[in-house]
Amino acid sequence: MTTSPVCRGATILVTGAGGFLGSRIADRLVLEHGATVRVLLRSLAGASKIATLPVEYRRGDVTDLAAVTDAAEGCDVVMHCASRIEPVVAPEATTTFLGTRTVAYACSTLRAKLVHISSSSVYGIPSPSVVDETAPHRARHRKDAYALAKIAAERLLQQCCKDRGLEAAILQPTMIFGPYSVEWTLTPLSMLQGADIAMADDDRSVCNAVYVDDVVTAAVLAANACDTTCESYLINGKDLLTWTDYLSRHAAMGTPGKIVVVSRERLAQLRAEASGSRSLTRTLIRLLRDQPEIRSALLATRMGGGAFSLLQKYGSRRLMGYVRHRLTGRRDPTITFPKASNLPLRLPPQHFLDLATQTHRYSSAKAERKLAYVPRYSVDTALPRLKAWAEWSRLIGNARQRPPFSTHETDWVD
């Protein structure tokens, strides 16, 4: 277990605890470090990932100073994970910035240590092949609202440490993958359910992937290193994989789709085809047809359920049949024969394509030197955990084969 004199048995506030990283931080602080964890949530609806834990709930917005001060009262450490992507507002008006400002003020007043979760995206697209914390802060482009907000928040935090004596540390994790990661785990797995993914045959990219548990370990270690110098630490994983490798590992978990290596010309052709078939109506209908959970969620709303009920009550059988066919792709009754084994070939999501052009590697050397951070997982060693979760989540394979009961398996802890 990671040594952490500050976190062991401490009282720790986690903001953004309903999210992917925040929930795992809360999980491990409670289960491994015996910490008393407090969480600040806007509503209990976002608490499903941490509801299984004995945590103290505080209701409030991370930009509300009174709510944050109340939640941080008596805490030794605050793990600040709350962030939101708000592309249409100025960096200083984002929840990311305002929330960091509020949390920083509350921590400096209450003398609590602050571990701020930022992102490696603050370095934009750096030119050197190895990037460390000395690289200039620069967003990839002027519309990269996420990076701009993170840059502004880091600056504010460093100022707050100088002016108000706040003790803080900043973590800059690279691309975090793991259970519940929407962008980097769920998206490729979902996509590989119904399509093969095309990647360029001359892929020389570097996939800076770090497993979520390594970031949690780094956050716990960073709590020991909080001081008024407010140091930043890049947190990366073990691997030096290309994006093709990264996606291939996901396909190897047992998805119907696979990664198909194609020429740049074919990739450009696929891009042209994809942009031609993009229309809002078609996209919405495809989403409704392909995603039963979206259908169910819409029907569970008052308006959606009511509209459907009215349709059922007054709509003719023919109309209902048409609606059902458009929404679910079903005609009644229908006999379907097994689909051809060839899945359509599609491009990876745009955010993968953007990163698949980058060839730099983020260095965790400073974190290794100063925090004693050692990345534990490569994509391959994290795979058994990820695969178990993906099977359980019905994202791959046949989950009925896995018993859900404790079987005292020890092979999961490598």
Partner: protein, 288 residues
């Protein structure tokens, strides 16, 4: 019982506002006359949906004014309020959970059996097609129960069950996963899936040669089931009204006090044999 039945809603929270009130507006069997909530503004909000209705903060004043009441309160208050209403001769549809423990559920059942008022329990998903199909197999016995609580509340549960005739089954419940949302019967000659929220079924042959999909129609007990969430509340209301007026067959009645008690007993027996759900991705990370 006179028609339409005079009705109160006790507890004007989200469930009452989003589901019971809209169902009542599209059903003529009840005449809502009183809305009760400790927070008067909530009662007044619901009152605004029904022209001849009054808002109240005290449920003990209902005796003379209503014949029946929907109780949709926080979990720990349902049993206490429902018991008092039953003792006052008011029939009750209480939201689940009707009680927090077996003793409390038995007291509630006793109160219902003693008086002339009837107690119904709002097991809304019994109106869903998938559940109606699963219930064709009769009562089940719990074989194993696992959940993922680590000192908090469970968000995933896995239950192995067995029907009276020895057919094994599994129930999976989740807040964090997108499950299939179907009732699935696996037979030797095929697998039948009935969706919960859509009137649709799918029959697949074990050799994977082809799949037959379509609506559930014809002379079977699935017909008449609700296939959208708001429709379940309406179906429940119709069934409750018919039961209050003694116009329903025993097998079509709404869930009653004994169903409510058996439900709490079932939950209690699950808790008694609880095992920790295996979640290897959540286990400890040893030091490197």
């Amino acid at each position: 019982m006179e028609y339409p039945i005079r009705l109160a809603i006790v507890g004007c929270g989200t469930v009452a506002e989003r589901f019971h009130a809209p169902a009542l507006r599209s059903f003529q069997g009840f005449s809502p006359v009183v809305m009760v909530d400790r927070q008067l503004h909530r009662a007044e909000l619901l009152k605004s949906y029904f022209p001849s209705c009054v808002a109240e903060t005290d449920f003990t004043k209902l005796r003379e004014h209503v014949d029946a009441a929907i109780v949709a309160l926080p979990n720990d208050l349902n049993a206490m309020v429902a018991t008092q209403l039953l003792q006052a001769g008011i029939s009750v549809l209480v939201e689940k959970p009707a009680a927090l423990n077996v003793e409390s559920a038995r007291e509630l059942e006793t109160a219902a059996l003693k008086g002339r008022a009837k107690l119904a329990v709002g097991f809304i998903r019994r109106e869903a097609l998938g559940v109606r199909m699963a219930r064709m197999f009769g009562d089940v016995r719990i074989k194993r129960f696992a959940d993922d609580s680590r000192g908090g509340v469970e968000t995933n549960a896995h239950i192995d069950v067995e029907t009276q005739s020895g057919i094994p089954g599994t129930v999976e419940l989740s807040w964090t996963r997108s499950l299939r949302n179907t009732a699935r019967i696996v037979g030797t000659r095929g697998t039948l899936d009935v969706e919960w929220y859509m009137n649709a079924a799918r029959l697949a042959l074990p050799n994977g040669l082809h799949t037959l999909s379509g609506e559930v129609t014809g002379d079977c007990r699935l017909c008449g089931g609700a296939d959208a969430f708001p429709m379940m509340f309406l179906a429940q209301l119709c069934r409750w009204c018919a039961w209050l007026r003694d116009e329903t067959r025993a097998e079509e009645r709404v869930a009653d006090a004994s169903d409510g008690r058996r439900n709490i007993e079932l939950i209690s027996s699950c808790r008694a044999m609880r095992e920790q759900m295996a979640e290897p991705w959540r286990e400890g990370v040893t030091a490197g």
